[in-house]
Amino acid sequence: MPKLQIPVESTTLGNGLRVVVSPDRAAPFVTVGVYYQIGFRLEPRGRSGFAHLFEHMMFQGSENAGKMVHIRLINSSGGMLNGTTHYDLTNYFEAVPSNALERVLWLEADRMRALKVDDENLRNQRDVVKEEVRVNVLNQPYGGFPWLDLPPVAFRNWPNAHNFYGDFADLDAATLDDVQHFFKTYYAPNNAVLLILGDVDPGEGFSFAKRYFEDIPAGPLPPAVDASEPPPNEERRAEVEEKFGTLPALAIGYHAPARNTPDWRAAALLDRALHGGRAGRVYRSLVSERQIAVDTEGGLNYPVGDLFDYQGPALLVSRIFYRPEYSPDAAIAAYDEVIGEIREKGMDPGELEQVKVKFQADYYSMLESGMGAYMPRFGLMHYLACFTLFDNEPRRINTTLDGFLAVTPDEVQAAAQKYLVPRNRAVLVRRPSVSGGAQ
């Protein structure tokens, strides 16, 4: 496969804002992102859900763009926008026709400079977030499974283990002062990266960045959060009730090797061998052959992220919906046979080669759109941001594949033996209510 040569230019403004430009003039669109290095892992103790609630507040009004103005200006320029909260980052992004580039930058700069919100806005968005939690978690079969209910079992340190969407009591307790304090603490330009992709000349992109962002004052960097985990020494298990769904389900999370280590790259390929579609070992064995399970999926940092978009401790997760006539122990035992086999025999070179081709293809797909079909270069923006915030090396976008493609069968097996062991994992069973559904 051809080697990637995506153009990447980067600079840092006087106030510490990092700027990355990746031009491609073929189509008249730009994709713009502002990524802040704050996510739900890093939110203050006793304020569960605050990073996400705050993300909503960033759409409620800034110094010169009042409530709904931001949204109206983007939509009426022919563009779309959104924001999302992750473990270690929060992003705001727009895709617009390139004649709206300056307007987008003006808006992003305006809300990086000053948030202008009131109690009414906060009450409103607290209500909206509660309905978001209900529609995504509390009122859905398997809502939040396993991204909300596995971390508290697997992790011991609050930053990694609390309710990321927020306990309603914590959401209710949030005040406007908390909002402004959070903004001052985490939303300084020196804690962020600005990305401009697509129909833009790099020189022009940098000069626009200077024009709109450079006079926003830098702030003190946020206090460091200790998100480290004690080394796991025993398997942890838990069970939770499934209110609506009729199938029992299982989530298994192995503590993953630290980012950018050889073990991490080997674990990423192990993950694809286990979970890569229907050719993946877990699906093939549990669904196709033994027919114990109805569906299986998984991944590193699954299901709300992937192997590139986090910085702290993460899990390599398998999620299994299995047939009700099997006990949790029987399902786990069947899964363990799959894990045992890869631990004992590793992968043969043929399988590893296939997995690498698929890994590379998935990476290309992610870069091209990565968010449905409607946002060009979303994945390219996302990864450039991660490589800048976490590694200070946006050009890694063109080279990161090399390390994965160089992993050997021996390294894969060594990683399996080191990480895919019971004492390194947490197991969560989601068991339907006795009645087989809510009553």
Partner: protein, 454 residues
């Protein structure tokens, strides 16, 4: 770097839009093979990958009289084995070529889609051809997929969004096949492998097919490969189906689906409207965008940003091949069901009564035009738009002319579309939730019919 410009960041008004650059349309090739298979290719070379989809113009509606969900089950099992490739081999071939395969059926189409690395495009076409022509529907794979389908159905019928859609479609379409979005468990149990084989023989034929492919390739090469893979496929008659008319609907009614234990209520209402072949389609699309189709719409501003009743309210103009419908959706907290419906109808009636202002109109036209352009900027997005054109037999320059069509619409167009297609007096209201908490609120909006979730 260019010279440092004057600091303008303190400007209190947003910069004006610069001049718009025209969209350069990717090179497109349209060709029909001797056996009737229509091939549409578009070169989009941003990344070294391709997306391709082989459609058959028959979906679940084509077999509704025989077996609801038959097209769906046929598409599910079609990927599990061919004359020369068992299931395992298919999946490994895909991985070897770095590809994803999807097989699915909707109301009007069945489809086999692949996306993968450009250098394997010949192999991927060959695999698609193998599935389309030589599938064997292994008995044990059929049985396994059927059991899985049963388990999925049990979960779907506990899912508020699914239940609301299922009920609305039943109410709007009555005896028409579009009334059914999923089979019952007993209908799935009654399916036989032979039903699938028969559907496959009848409908997976080249005269009924459309191949759309987008990505980094040379169209000449792909046409040659398509001829090799599909050229010898024997033409069959193009299947025809006649569907009964959907019912006449008079008066607003409430359809309450009781799902115990819910902590939120799913509200979905709608009325039959038009398909994208209708001359009013763009007018309706624009009216919908202003009403509730965009983040910056009246519905979202009202019940989300002002009142905080809901997270993601939306309205939509939905086009199936023979029929269309307009719908409004919101998942709301239980104590504001009546308040939400009041606002939904208030905003519908406002659209029906008063012309939109020039600024709001211009904003909405820009939004639709721009988002359309974005939707053709990715491989999968362009593939979807091209499929719409060729599956619906829209004019071949439909995409190129779409933005001008939207930009020419007036406030009078929007008002006329709202009056015709936002049929608030005859809207059918579906609510899914806990009966005890919502029945009284629901009854304020019309006669109530109640159903249990499963």
């Amino acid at each position: 770097m260019t010279a440092t410009p004057l600091p303008r960041s303190r400007l209190s008004a947003p910069p004006a839009l610069g001049p718009e650059r025209p969209v350069a349309w990717p090179r497109r090739t349209v060709h029909t093979l001797g056996n009737g298979l229509q091939v549409v290719l578009a070169e989009l070379r941003s990344f070294p990958k391709i997306s391709a989809e082989l459609f058959f113009r028959s979906g679940n509606a084509a077999a509704a009289d025989r077996a609801p969900g038959l097209a769906d089950m046929t598409a599910t099992v079609v990927r599990t084995g061919t004359v020369s490739r068992p299931s395992n081999r298919i999946e490994q071939d895909l991985r070897r070529m770095g590809a994803e395969l999807g097989t699915s059926a909707g109301a009007d189409t069945s489809a086999i889609s692949v996306s993968g690395v450009a250098e394997f495009s010949a192999g991927l076409l060959e695999l698609m051809g193998d599935l389309a022509r030589n599938a064997v529907f292994p008995a044990e794979e059929f049985e396994r997929e059927r059991r899985q389908r049963l388990e999925e159905l049990r979960i779907e019928r506990k899912t508020p969004g699914f239940l609301a859609n299922e009920r609305l479609r039943r109410v709007l379409f009555g005896a028409h096949p579009y009334a059914i979005i999923a089979p019952t468990e007993s209908q799935v149990e009654a399916l036989r492998r032979e039903n699938l084989v028969e559907f496959y023989r009848e409908h997976y034929v080249p005269s009924n097919a459309l191949l759309v492919m987008v990505g980094d390739f040379s169209s000449e090469r792909i046409l040659e490969q398509a001829e090799q893979v599909f050229g010898s496929w024997k033409a069959g008659p193009r299947p025809e189906a006649v569907a009964p008319q959907p019912p006449e609907i008079h008066g607003r009614r409430v359809h309450l689906v009781h799902l115990p234990g819910t902590v939120q209520t799913e509200v979905l209402l709608g009325n039959r409207a038009i398909t994208r072949l209708h001359p009013d389609w763009k007018r309706l699309s624009l009216a919908n965008s202003i009403y509730g189709g965009a983040f910056n719409s009246r519905l979202v501003s009202n019940i989300r940003e002002q009142k905080g009743y809901t997270y993601s309210p939306r309205s939509g103009a939905n086009s199936l091949r023979q029929q269309g419908y307009f719908s409004v959706h919101a998942a709301v907290r239980n104590d504001v069901v009546a308040a939400t419906l009041t606002e939904i109808f208030y905003e519908l009636d406002r659209m029906r009564s008063l012309p939109v202002g020039e600024e709001e109109l211009a904003d909405a036209r820009n939004y639709m035009s721009g988002v359309f352009s974005l939707s053709v900027a990715t491989q999968d997005g362009l593939l979807g738009q091209l499929s719409n054109v060729f599956l619906n037999q829209l004019p071949e320059d439909y995409l190129e002319k779409y933005r001008d069509g939207i930009r020419s619409l007036t406030a009078a167009d929007v008002l006329a579309a709202a009056r015709k297609y936002f049929d608030s007096a005859n809207a059918q209201i579906v609510i899914v939730g806990d009966q005890e908490q919502i029945a009284e609120q629901a009854a304020l909006f019309g006669p109530v019919e109640s159903y249990n979730a499963s």
